[in-house]
Symmetry: C2
Subunit: 504 residues, 2 copies
């Protein structure tokens, strides 16, 4: 490229990546289908009813379905990105607290990958340029098997010889994919039939619906719980099962996220066991999404997290499948590397074919393998990351306590689930949406509304506190506090925007 006219690719890279282009990430993160409010069957596969003049004849029915409808907080997030808060240059700018991405320890990962000849070594190996199994290169599958054995199956052991580890977790039972979304899609596609349904405890990560439905046609069906922090009881599972059946749906999957998003809680081992036993009796597959497994607030041994691998004593059978990724615990969502651990060998055989569409780049596999087998680095990284997460959590929750806003005490994850329902004049999602708008307009902050997570109680919000620096977080919480204080003294029927000034 002639250098005189070469555009500044580097600077546009960073600027645009955090503006226009994160949009579709958000689009996905908060994907909502207005036509399938709560847990009814969403858009039918292959229906053509929603064609518009704009799309007719330009794409197919499935292309039409893939056109994401606006999400409640998309407008706000766009504003955030176009006018991001910076303590020095733009202290009155917008703050996004709606993206579950951990940027707090990014510098440590950067250092690890850029040190010495680390990155170059990944590109020196001839095999990374060539066709490999689409399930992943041996080096990466072995590394992940070792990592899972050490962290999830034998977390109590100080030392675990690799040879021993691979006897327990067989690399052939581990596969890589371009992120957990891709692996979820592949699991649902290969194990389920279109129109079957997946039970998920409410509230849940909104994009699960996309992952199971967009291609695989699996219908999300929420499990209502008296106390969602405990995980579903057998009675609640039975009820959801019967409700789904009554709607003509066939439950085929139970999807658990542990630690839970958005609640930030850790399910107790006995709950997990009861859930799997229940699912097995009914012939359901259990998918245990453990993408936040190592983002606990307490150190290993001090928190109650147990992987499904441990809970089942590594006897997953054909019907339990564990997911993990480097996206959250190592803050590398942009690396697009997820893992599935499944002992269902027929499934793995099908996955080898399907993964042609979702394979991970060779050099990235090589580097991730290095990361997962470098115990010294990953131990210290995870310790430091945990500390930083917890510090930001405290900034957030200390302020919430000061504001007397109830929240669910989090044990893990990158978020806290708060109850702002007392602010709503009426317990409706219209009021929840209005509160979102007030937050955006007057405090310039964006949260993830409960409605987008299929909560049935209006006024719940998820606050993601690791996407911004602790300083920006502090400022955002201060703004929230001021707004909440003012709103408590005002009648929403008579809101005077002049009285809402002065928050920034």
């Amino acid at each position: 490229m002639p250098s005189a006219s070469k555009p500044n690719f580097e600077s546009t890279g960073l600027a645009l990546a955090t503006s226009l282009f994160t949009v579709s990430a958000v689009w996905f993160l908060g994907k909502i289908r207005r036509d399938s409010k709560h847990h009814g069957p969403p858009r039918h596969q292959h229906s053509s009813e929603n064609y518009t003049d704009r799309t007719k004849g330009v794409v197919g029915n499935r292309g039409n379905r893939a056109l994401a409808p606006p999400i409640p907080y998309l407008e706000g997030f766009l504003k955030c990105l176009g006018d991001q808060c910076d303590l020095v240059t733009n202290p009155e700018g917008h703050v996004a607290l709606c993206i579950a991405e951990n940027k707090l320890a990014l510098n440590l990962l950067q250092e690890r990958f850029t040190q010495g000849g680390t990155a170059a070594a990944a590109f020196a190996d001839e095999s990374v340029y060539c066709y490999n199994s689409f399930l992943g290169m041996p080096v990466a599958r072995e590394a992940a098997a070792y990592f899972f054995a050490r962290r999830f199956l034998f977390p109590e052991r100080q030392e675990l010889p690799a040879d021993e580890a691979l006897l327990h977790i067989r690399p052939s039972h581990v596969a890589l994919g371009a992120g957990c979304a891709a692996l979820l899609n592949n699991l649902f596609y290969l194990l389920g039939e279109p129109g079957e349904c997946c039970l998920i405890p409410i509230p849940y990560y909104a994009a699960f619906e996309n992952d199971m439905n967009l291609v695989a046609g699996i219908v999300p069906f929420g499990i209502h719980q008296v106390n969602p922090t405990l995980g579903p009881s057998v009675a609640e599972l039975n009820l959801a099962y019967m409700q789904a059946k009554a709607k003509g749906l066939t439950p085929k999957f139970l999807l658990l996220t542990n630690p839970n998003n958005p609640l930030g809680v850790i399910y107790r081992p006995e709950v997990l066991l009861a859930n799997v036993q229940w699912a097995r009796k009914r012939g359901l597959h259990t998918i245990s999404d453990e993408i936040y497994a190592l983002s606990t607030h307490q150190k290993p041994g001090q928190h109650g997290f147990q992987s499904i691998i441990k809970v089942l004593d590594n006897d997953l059978g054909n019907d339990v499948h564990m997911l993990w990724a480097v996206s959250k615990d190592f803050g590398g969502s942009g690396l697009r590397v997820g893992f599935v651990y499944s002992q269902n060998e027929i499934f793995m055989e099908g996955l080898a074919t399907l993964s042609i569409f979702t394979a991970v780049s060779g050099p990235i596999q090589y580097l991730v393998a290095e990361l997962l087998t470098d115990d010294e680095f990953s131990d210290s990284f995870l310790d430091e990351s945990r500390d930083r997460i917890h510090q930001s959590y405290l900034i957030c929750t200390n302020k919430l306590q000061e504001m007397v806003v109830p929240f669910i005490p989090a044990e893990a994850g990158l978020f806290v689930y708060v109850d702002l329902s007392s602010l709503l004049p009426e317990k409706t999602f219209a009021c929840e949406e209005r509160l979102s708008k007030l937050m955006l307009d007057h405090a310039r902050i964006v949260l993830t509304p409960g409605e987008s997570q299929r909560d049935t109680n209006p006024g719940m919000f998820r606050i993601c506190y690791t996407w911004v620096s602790p300083e920006v977080l502090e400022l955002a919480m201060e703004r929230m506090s001021k707004l909440v204080g003012k709103l408590r003294r005002m009648d929403w029927d008579d809101l005077d925007s002049r009285q809402l000034k002065g928050i920034l």
Copy 2:
């Protein structure tokens, strides 16, 4: 990982990557459905008729369908990998000539990526770790747009300012995906309806069937041609269209591979134009797969290749879509980076949602962007690669001429299509399969049989000559020559394997 017991991940990486694990690549590369011989509709979506005791209840119908049946040359390829020929250590080992992968210039790419701080720079940029558009980072989409403008739209110009390039090829019309297979799957999924069909000139790359059918449910339908090297005539297109209709199928796509795989020919611009015009009149999308565009035997200006972008004067409309990747022309199939160029903005909008499953890792996007904008390197790389490809082609075809084996003179690609039908006692695919077996058993070489490429004439084989060194290629061709010589003098009804000794 405790170093005392750390398994040698590096060495297993290379060894296994080229053994067990390339298998599923091959699996895919030569994927064949015996239940859909030639161009009849392949396996129906969602049918459960093929369940076996082994798979029933373990995976779903789609999982069952994804279990690839053996391919004719899988056994042979496995033998190749388990006992690879090496001139020094294993001169009687097996030689795989069935994989369209260019390893001849791998060292140049390795050098480029490992030089200075190139690789480290890709991991130093914070944005590569974070969520980005699943269509690709701006830096990568801009780089590809520039590359397409310079190489495909204005190949005759010595200099093309980047700013000007991006006025012609808009980065928003370019998307990345984890290889062309992923992008094909996404194109077929978003633009077509299940059960619609795609017309493809025969013979064709076997895995296209997987790409269009496995998930998207599009039915491949072959176009018969009097002279396949010319590309389909309007009369042949019309005939295929009517044949498909007569079988109750609705043609929705025309898929052209230019330069063509397996023929190695370049379609003339007027043929491409006539094909697109025909498809437009019928309401079909045209997909132009140009993955071998720069692997021509002659230099630019001396060969007749014109991209569809140039042929249509960059007016692709909503119905023409161009694919390219770094897999073949830069020998980086393991990097899993493909590109689609489409001016259909509604399609791109749907693709942004669907690409959550098929996104490319951030650092790889960054490096590929560097590759595509480094004109000096890519000019010299492509020149050198072209020379090496051509040299290997000559080794292969000189021997074929000496053997008096007819072949289609190739102008591009990594293969030559040869006619061994004169060796067959009967013109049947059973005899073709038998010849494959003789090649494997007595010459220890594996070719891609025509049947796996839906050829209707038994006895055609594709020889891929860039997967091994020129020296190993020479040895393999020598073996083939000896075997062919012997077979010509023998009666297949009375084959004496002792007479076939001494070839190695």
